[in-house]
Amino acid sequence: MADMASPKAFAYAPAPESRAVVDIAPSYGLFIDGEFAEATGGKVFKTISPSTEEVLSEVAQGSAEDVDRAVKAARKAFEKWSALPGAERAKYLFRIARIIQERSRELAVLETLDNGKPIKETRDADLPLVAAHFFYYAGWADKLDHAGYGANPRPLGVAGQVIPWNFPLLMLAWKIAPALATGNTVVLKPAETTPLSALFFADICRQAGLPKGVVNIVTGDGTTGAALVAHEGVNKVAFTGSTAVGKAIARTVAGTDKKLTLELGGKGANIVFDDAPIDQAVEGIVNGIFFNQGQVCCAGSRLLVQESIQDELLDALKRRLSTLRLGDPLDKNTDIGAINSAEQLARITELADSGEAEGAERWAPACDLPENGFWFRPTLFTGVTQAHRIAREEIFGPVLSVLSFRTPGEAVAKANNSQYGLSAGIWTEKGSRMLAVASKLRAGVIWANTFNKFDPTSPFGGFKESGFGREGGRHGLEAYLDV
């Protein structure tokens, strides 16, 4: 455990969560039509723990033929699943929600191992939200007539869903829960670097007695996802990931009847006005950019601070960053875990280096990094201009770019100066200012005096090149209904 606090600070004893709660098999097949099966051709790839580089398991590399089998299984299951009374579909989803609650510690440890994020996040954020999402959409399954889409809205058919590695099981829940509630069946491809929790979810479907073929999990890399998105038997495509891939998917489905929702990148502005409570704002800034090592599409990666309080705020922020604890993600006291992959670490490193090269000033607290695994110090840049790459491009890592402003109008102009429009934060004690600024921000989710809050009842999604469609809430049903 690397302790970034002063050497005289009270030392923490290691407090690792036990791995014994989770039993990872040496290999996993694809979950198609209710059965685990090897990929056609038997190709496999390894999934590792990013904090140690230890191999956790081998999973199947799904081919185009495998995707075809999965889509056909989902198609076959669709007829009966969509014809079930909503109340019966609801009860399946309630079962899944309850089993997730029962197995949440196991899944939290698994997710931390496969993803590298701190156990306190998987335990206290990811898993409770996963269960809550299934619970919420379970309740919609027999209430679709009340959702505002007219009487008896119909499902689309087979949903092809591709999810990222930053919140593997939560993104699965955001995709599968509304799809199933509305009567669709799904083929889901988890991210290449974090396939395990989706495969454990397959086991939860078995325990819940979910009919075969309603949920199919096909692991693989980008080619597997591309095959799924392009498959003719898919009626709905839902993707969460990078804007570049999102655009490619939009081109792929062009000219088809496939309904498309995209939840893509962001470069969220966290705007701090001079009347903001500084200590709370600092906590919100830290949470906004260092939660999940900054690997969050809605991260508050641009700090816009009013000039008159910039020095005071940055002093407080640096003090706070010096107390963050980086290290073993399974340790309950860890704040900053591992970066998910060597590839992602390289991307973060390259962009951070560009910040220095372009003239911004880099600061990071002194701290040792573990020898193995993928790590990046929590970092902030001052003297950032709007032209800098670190102010424009999504870094998807623990790197904060600090810019300043003088008037609310300038803050809004700078916040909106982005290809993205996913999230924003506003820190001010004045309600009318908060609402005035919020109404001008071209962003899908705005947090006032808080940040990174999620709830199944609350819609999430972006403006502009952060994508379209909403996940969560009543709005999230629309993505999976023929309306």
């Binding site: 009860k91 809550a132 209430k143 009340h146 809004v412």
Partner: protein, 294 residues
């Protein structure tokens, strides 16, 4: 048939999470549809009704203040607990209503599913009853609904269990607490339901179950100044009018008795009947080019 002598259950009221007898010490004979003795049920007094209102009022803060998600899980827990005691309720409903086993099974299954239905409503009803209003001015204007408070419920007289669940669950789903007067001639499923609620994470006082003469207990509930609303499902036309007049004294929200097919899928009316709408205005200021007002 075994030689063993069975142990009878003493049916008691369910008030404030506890199982008291009637303070009056009175009971009345409950029989099956053929007139055979089933049990002696408490014959609640007006004082029992007032005690139940006190218990219900005490529970309002915690229950209405719980998150909708939490209330949903508690209601779902009721369904889980009922599923485990399905056979008991099938037997009680069959005896109470003179139904065949198959018909009683249908009633109990529908009642379990009804808890699931309302469990799913707790965190959605606000999303379809509330919303922002596009007022013509620089204001953020949002309406949201909240529970009215303590609801007195006269349970349906004929449908002793499905009807009972169909009037309790919607009232508490939104955060109200209830004092329910069970079906007069078939109160046993209601009193047993208290035992299920007591083991389902439902906080004490959220549901209070009284048995006895509806016409004796209901007037004191209808006139009670600390009751916010009354569901007259189990009152006949004459009693309902009398109670509605009494309820006017503190302008209780009144749900009049109506012909209901309890087996049919319910709408939202039993929830919205006991909700209040609150609208909040807040100035938004403006970011106009020529200076600003915030």
């Amino acid at each position: 048939m075994s030689d063993r002598l069975s142990v009878f259950k003493t049916y008691k009221l369910f008030v404030g999470g506890k199982f008291p007898r009637s303070e009056s010490g009175r009971v009345y004979e409950v029989t099956d549809s053929k007139g055979n003795w089933l049990a002696n049920a408490p014959l609640s007094s007006r004082k029992d009704a007032r005690d139940a209102v006190v218990a219900a009022r005490k529970a309002v803060g915690g229950w209405s203040g719980a998150t909708a998600y939490n209330r949903g899980q508690v209601l779902y827990r009721v369904a889980e607990m009922l599923e485990g005691r399905r056979d008991q309720f099938v037997a009680e409903v069959a005896e109470a209503e003179g139904l065949t086993k198959a018909k009683a099974v249908a009633q109990v299954d529908a009642a379990i599913d009804r808890w699931v239905w309302y469990a799913g409503w707790t965190d959605k009803i606000g999303q379809i009853t509330g919303g922002t209003n596009p007022v013509a001015g620089p204001f953020f204007n949002v309406s949201s609904t909240e529970p009215t408070g303590v609801v007195a419920v006269l349970a349906p007289q004929e449908s002793s269990f499905l009807g009972l669940v169909s009037v309790i669950a919607p009232a508490i789903a939104t955060g109200n607490t209830v004092v329910v007067v069970a079906s007069e001639k078939a109160p046993l499923p209601a009193l047993s339901l208290g035992e299920v609620l007591a083991t389902s994470d439902v906080p004490g006082g959220v549901v209070n179950v009284l048995s006895g003469r509806t016409a004796e207990i209901a007037p004191s509930l209808a006139a009670h100044q600390d009751v916010n609303a009354i569901d007259l499902a189990g009152a006949d036309a004459g009693l309902a009018k009398e109670l509605e007049i009494a309820a006017a004294d503190n302008l209780k929200r009144v749900l009049r008795p109506q012909a209901v097919d309890w087996a049919a899928a319910p709408g939202t009316d039993r929830m919205t009947a006991f909700l209040e709408t609150r609208t909040v205005w807040h100035p938004t200021g403006s970011l106009g080019a020529g200076g600003s007002s915030y």
